[in-house]
C-alpha cells in the first residue's frame, strides 16, 4: 500500500472539493472546513521527503496537518494520521492487515481527542463504519478492503444528515443542525476515496 500516494490523492480530492466542504461547513459551522483541510494537506504533501516508509509518511503528514490546519479538523485528522503511522512502525510495506490496524488506531485517536461517539454527527460517523468495513474485508486485499471502506464511509456520512449534532460547532445550532451533511464526515469520505484510488492504482 503506497501511503504517500494515498495522502497525495487525499490532497487532490480535497483541493477539488474544498468549495463544497466549505459550503457544508457554512450551513452548520463556520465555513472554513474546505479551506482548513486544503491548507493542511498542501503542507502535508510538501512535507513528505523522498523514500519514506509507509508509517513515516503518515506520521509526517499528520504532523504537518497538526502544524498547519488549525480548527478542529487539524488536530483530529493530524492526530489520526500520526497514530496510524505509529501503528505501521518502520516496516517497509503495509499490507491490508497492517493498514486495518492503523486505521483502527486512527479512529481511536480521533475519539480520544474529540470525545465524539457515533451518532454525534461528526467525522466519527463516517470513520467508524469505514474502519470496521476495512477490517472485515482486509482478507480480500487492500484494494477490495478500501472499496468496502469507502462504501461504508459514504453511507455513514449520508446518515449524518438527519442527525442533530452533539459535538463541534454544529451542536450550537441544536435542532437547526438537522438536515445537513456533516462537513467532517464528507471529508472522511474523501479520505477513503483517496485510499481506494491509491490501492486501486497500486
Amino acid at each position: 500500500m503506497d501511503t504517500r500516494r494515498w495522502i497525495e490523492r487525499f490532497a487532490e480530492l480535497v483541493a477539488a472539493d474544498a468549495d463544497r466542504l466549505t459550503r457544508l461547513d457554512a450551513a452548520i459551522g463556520d465555513g472554513d472546513h474546505g479551506a482548513n483541510l486544503n491548507r493542511g494537506l498542501r503542507a502535508a504533501v510538501e512535507a513528505l521527503g523522498p523514500d519514506l516508509p509507509p508509517g513515516k509518511v503518515l506520521m509526517t503528514a499528520g504532523r504537518a496537518l497538526v502544524s498547519k490546519t488549525g480548527g478542529a479538523s487539524g488536530p483530529l485528522y493530524g492526530g489520526a494520521l500520526r497514530r496510524a503511522g505509529k501503528a505501521l512502525g518502520d516496516a517497509a510495506d503495509a499490507d491490508a492487515t497492517a493498514l486495518a490496524a492503523a486505521l483502527r488506531a486512527a479512529l481511536d485517536a480521533v475519539q480520544q481527542l474529540g470525545k465524539a461517539v457515533e451518532g454525534d454527527k461528526t467525522m466519527v460517523d463516517a470513520l467508524t463504519p469505514a474502519v470496521a468495513a476495512y477490517e472485515a474485508a482486509a482478507g480480500d486485499g487492500p484494494a477490495a478492503a478500501a472499496r468496502a471502506a469507502l462504501d461504508a464511509a459514504e453511507k455513514g456520512a449520508e446518515a449524518t444528515v438527519p442527525l442533530q449534532a452533539r459535538k463541534g460547532r454544529a451542536s450550537y445550532l441544536g435542532p437547526r443542525s438537522v438536515g445537513h451533511l456533516d462537513p467532517g464526515a464528507a471529508s472522511t469520505v474523501l479520505l477513503f476515496r483517496a485510499l481506494a484510488d491509491a490501492a486501486g492504482e497500486g
Binding site: D30, V66, G70, P75, K167, R169, Y172, L173
Partner: protein
C-alpha cells in the same frame, strides 16, 4: 464580497502588518504570527496568552499590553491557531512563573491549545489552561460541545492580566480567570451575516426583516430566526436568557454591550439605554459598563450582551490600569 482588503489569502498577515505599524508598543512576529508585549517576557511575572481565529478584532491582539495579555496568536479567519504558533506565543510570554492560556471553548481551540500546552511542558513551561464558555444560547450538557466562549473572554483577559501585573501567582491568575468565566453570561443577536474572506459569500442568508437570536462569534446562524424586533425587545430576550441561567437580581454587575463589527456605536448606545433600563427594573446595579466593538465577528451587524456579577476584587481588577490598543485607561 465588499471588503477593504488586498489578497484574500493574506488578510491575516496584512492585519498583523497593520498592527505592527500602528502599535510600536507591540512586537509583531509575522513569521510566527504572534503579537507580543514589547517588554515580554518579564521575569517572575505570570505570562498570559490567548488566541483564536482572526476576525474578532480587537480580540485578542488588541488586548496585548500592560495589564492584559503578554502575547496573542491569531489563526486564520475563524480558525483556531495551530500548536506551533501557540507554543511560540507561550514561549514569548514565559517569564519563568508559568503561563495561563485563555481558551475560548471551541473544539478546535481547545484541541490546539491542549497540544501546544504539551509542547510547552516539554520545554519546561508550566501551562494552566482556562476555558471560557459564557454563551447561554447554547445548552450546556455533556451531550454537546458545551457553551461557546464570547464576551467573558475580554473580562477574563482583563482581570487575569491585572492580577498577573500585580504579581499574582500562576494558580491565582488562572483562578481569577475561571471565576470571571463562572460569573459571566452572554447572549448575542445578528441582524446580518458576515463573509469569511476565503469563502467569499455570507455564511447564511437573512431576509430584510429577519434576525438571528443566540448567535456565536463565527458567523454561524443562531438558535432561532425571528422577525426583526425593536432594540428593547431584543434586549429583553437577551437579558431574560442570561437572567434565567444566572439570576441577576440584587447583584452589582459589569455589563458589556458589544458590537459584532458592522453595527455603529449609535445603535450600541440605543441598545445600552434599553439594557440599563432593563437591569434597573430588575433590581440589578450596574457598577461598570463598556459599550463598543470588542469581540467582533467580521462585519456582522448585531450585538452581544455580557453580564459579569462583580465581587469587590473583580471590580478592582477591572479598574486597574490597562494600556493596550483596544482597551486603555489609568495610564
Amino acid at each position: 464580497m465588499k471588503k477593504l482588503i488586498g489578497d484574500v489569502d493574506d488578510v491575516v498577515l496584512d492585519t498583523l502588518r497593520g498592527m505592527a505599524a500602528a502599535h510600536p508598543s507591540l512586537r509583531v512576529d509575522l513569521d510566527q504570527r504572534i503579537i507580543v508585549r514589547a517588554d515580554a517576557p518579564r521575569t517572575g511575572k505570570v505570562g498570559l496568552v490567548s488566541g483564536g481565529g482572526s476576525g474578532h478584532e480587537p480580540l485578542h491582539g488588541g488586548f496585548v499590553g500592560y495589564g492584559m495579555l503578554d502575547a496573542a496568536c491569531p489563526g486564520e479567519v475563524f480558525t483556531s491557531p495551530v500548536p506551533d504558533q501557540i507554543l511560540a506565543a507561550t514561549t514569548a510570554a514565559s517569564g519563568g512563573a508559568g503561563v495561563v492560556h485563555i481558551v475560548k471553548n471551541y473544539t478546535g481551540d481547545v484541541l490546539n491549545f491542549q497540544l501546544a500546552a504539551e509542547l510547552a511542558e516539554d520545554e519546561d513551561i508550566e501551562v494552566v489552561p482556562v476555558v471560557i464558555d459564557d454563551d447561554v444560547a447554547v445548552q450546556d450538557s455533556t451531550f454537546t460541545a458545551g457553551r461557546r466562549g464570547t464576551g467573558a473572554t475580554l473580562f477574563a483577559e482583563k482581570a487575569a492580566g491585572a492580577l498577573a501585573e500585580a504579581g499574582g501567582s500562576l494558580q491565582d491568575v488562572a483562578a481569577v480567570a475561571r471565576e470571571v468565566n463562572e460569573r459571566t453570561r452572554s447572549f448575542g443577536v445578528a441582524l446580518t451575516a458576515c463573509t469569511v474572506p476565503a469563502a467569499g459569500r455570507p455564511t447564511f442568508e437573512l431576509g430584510a426583516d429577519e434576525m438571528e437570536l443566540g448567535i456565536g462569534i463565527h458567523g454561524e446562524p443562531g438558535r432561532e430566526r425571528t422577525r426583526l424586533r425593536p432594540a428593547p425587545e431584543i434586549v429583553d430576550v437577551a437579558l431574560s436568557a442570561i437572567d434565567e441561567d444566572m439570576s441577576l437580581s440584587g447583584s452589582e454587575v459589569l455589563v458589556l454591550v458589544n458590537g459584532m463589527g458592522g453595527t455603529p456605536l449609535m445603535e450600541l448606545y440605543v441598545a445600552y439605554a434599553a439594557v440599563a433600563e432593563w437591569l434597573g427594573g430588575h433590581g440589578v446595579t450596574v457598577a461598570r459598563s463598556l459599550v463598543g466593538n470588542y469581540v467582533t465577528s467580521l462585519e456582522m451587524a448585531g450585538a452581544m450582551i455580557s453580564v459579569l456579577r462583580l465581587t469587590p476584587q473583580l471590580t478592582e481588577l477591572w479598574d486597574a490600569p490597562v494600556e493596550t490598543p483596544g482597551l486603555r485607561w489609568g495610564r
